[in-house]
């Protein structure tokens, strides 16, 4: 697990780590793009919406691979979150909103995206993609 500060720069740091991880696993470009996008969007959400840029709180990233499935765990230390509360960005009334599409991208490019509220606070997003 790597702990990253709650700054926008952590998005690039996490993406670089993910790129190295995927490269070491011998995955192709399309797979790498999906992992990259999912990591970027989830870290950005954790920094912005989870930890609300509080530099006293870290974002934790864990990358693992088992039997061809890459799993990404991203944890923030914020107040909790329910994905059902996020408006559908493809709903006509939300199409012109400036934000709210990150989760849609995560769901579109990964096979599994799940959230849980951690017992000791914060949200864990767990994403998985098979090669």
């Amino acid at each position: 697990m790597t702990s990253l500060p709650s700054r926008i720069e952590s998005v690039d740091t996490a993406a670089e780590m993910a790129a190295e991880f995927v490269k070491a696993g011998g995955h192709g470009d399309e797979f790498a793009y999906a992992i990259d996008l999912a990591v970027r969007e989830s870290i950005a959400n954790a920094v912005k919406h989870g930890n609300k840029f509080d530099e006293n709180k870290n974002v934790d990233l864990t990358l693992s691979e088992s039997e061809g499935n890459v799993e990404i765990l991203v944890r923030d230390h914020g107040a909790g979150f329910s994905p059902e509360e996020i408006p559908d960005p493809t709903d006509p009334e939300n199409l012109l909103k400036a934000s709210g599409r990150g989760i849609l991208f995560m769901r579109s490019f990964m096979d599994v995206v799940e959230w849980e509220n951690a017992e000791d606070g914060g949200v864990i997003v767990r994403m998985r993609k098979g090669s």
């Binding site: 926008i8 720069e9 998005v11 793009y33 996008l37 970027r40 969007e41 950005a44 960005p89 493809t90 199409l95 012109l96 909103k97 400036a98 934000s99 709210g100 599409r101 990150g102 849609l104 991208f105 579109s108």
Partner: protein, 115 residues
Amino acid sequence: MSDITISERQAGDVTILDLSGKVTIGEGSVALRNAIRKLLGDGKNKIVLNLGNVGYIDSSGIGELVSSFTAVKKEGGTLKLLHLTQKIQDLLAITKLLTVFDTFDDEASALSSFD
């Protein structure tokens, strides 16, 4: 160093912004916002965004395209997109934003669409 460069060209009363690099959370999105704001401040509201050399865009960058579109429209102008890469096209399809933007594969068609 910024991950994005934006250069401006004029074709009649249409302004073309050639974007190159990444339009992502942070600098890339802010640079695009500032460029659009400057054009509108100069009274230029017929705008084409050339995305052919944008290698990467995230949800923040897509959001900035939408914000740019609405900001230009609010000033009575139009913003159109040129040379979508396959990745950008896919993301605009996922978000159903292909129904919002006018998109073009060649510059001449984009420019003549303002006539």
